[in-house]
Amino acid sequence: MKTRTYFLAAAAACLLLFAASASAHKVSVFAYADSGKIYTESYFQNGDPVANGRLKVYDSSDNLVAEGETDKQGLFAFEIPKADDFRIVIDAGMGHKSSFILKKSRVEAEIKSGEKP
């Protein structure tokens, strides 16, 4: 019983420590279009990647047009759905949420280059 209490206390302390170290680093997401695809990079302020983060993409009418999970490098890519402004939202958990607006002008040029053979 006593051991279990200690274990729980230790686990709680670990969680608190982890939460404290993570919250000192702001989460960001960056996106760019290239050759028919949109590439996203999600990272903490110090450069650590946001691994297994939930990423959602909304069009200018706020419709969800793509979603997925970031890989170990914090990367996630998807086909350009259409020519539009996109709001890309990363949710790294523990209240770490951030978004990036990818402008239509940047997307349009890359739809065409993606169509090239």
Binding site: S28, F30, Y32, E41, Y43, Q45, N46, G47, F100
Partner: protein
């Protein structure tokens, strides 16, 4: 004992005050249009490369730099071909002196360290050449990676304080390197870029020691200075080059400077 200390303190103060500080310090400068690039950023980053007296706002004629480049993600890109001449002068100067402008598109997150190696400038008043290797760091899209890496110049300041996102009153700490090694006890001159004062008003030095602040690096080449006003601050670590250069058939010494620029903002 106490009296002895106060006498010593007065003596040290006298030495510091009357030490021969050159009245006008020369500074190489790279000033970007933005020090922090965000999602709201549109178009190219505009950079101005100058050789001037920052407090007095006097320009010197600047030849086209030998090198202008940027380091991002540990990779150096030469941007010398982007340099375009421009003219600038202080309110008191009659004619324009040449400075240089460049445009650069910031396309990825991370720190961009811009650097320049100018041509050596002949200064007859000091009977030597002056060559100021100059750097400035621009942060993009909240990824704070790269600012603490040396570029590999003959002499340079490597920041120990993150060189952006600084408040007025913050300190800036840096390490002076010459040929990659710490420059023990190097003299570092500090000046405020009066051009960047904006609405807060120019600095008007009450006495000449207020024009250029002077700090000396420690044995490890590390120096610190606290910046009292919002705007751009230049740090110039001066050493003598281990090479000379000819002027009218005579070998002359070369003062090499490692210059770094940071921007402060008022706490609001």
């Amino acid at each position: 004992m106490r009296k002895w200390f106060s006498t010593l303190a007065a003596l040290i103060a006298a030495v510091v005050i009357f030490a021969p500080v050159p009245g006008q310090a020369h500074f190489g400068a790279i000033i970007p249009s933005e020090d922090i690039v965000t999602q709201q950023h549109e178009g190219d980053l505009a950079l101005e490369i100058k050789f001037l007296h920052p407090v007095e706002m006097e320009y010197m004629e600047m030849e086209k730099p030998e090198t202008f480049g940027v380091m991002h993600n540990g990779k150096k890109t030469d941007l010398t071909g982007r340099l375009k001449p421009a003219g600038g002068k202080s309110p008191g100067q009659k004619k324009n002196d040449t400075f240089w402008k460049a445009l650069y598109p910031i396309q990825r997150p991370g720190d961009y360290t811009f650097y320049t190696e100018p041509k050596a400038y002949w200064e007859p008043a000091e009977d030597l050449f002056i060559k100021h290797y100059t750097k400035v760091c621009v942060n993009a899209y909240a990824l704070e990676q790269g600012w603490d890496q040396p570029v590999g110049l003959e002499t340079e300041i490597v920041p120990l304080t993150r060189p952006y996102g600084l408040w007025t009153g913050n300190v800036f700490t840096g390490r002076v390197l010459v040929n990659g090694q710490p420059a023990a006890h190097a003299e570092v001159e500090v000046e405020y870029l009066n051009e960047s004062a904006g609405d807060s008003g120019y600095i008007e030095p009450p006495f000449s020691p207020y024009v250029t602040q002077v700090v000396r690096a420690d044995a490890g080449g590390v120096f610190t200075y606290a910046m009292p006003k919002a705007g751009w601050w230049g740090f110039s670590a001066l050493t003598e080059a281990d090479w000379t250069r000819q002027h009218k058939g005579e070998e002359k010494n070369v003062e090499i400077g490692a210059v770094y620029w940071v921007r402060t903002r008022d706490v609001k």
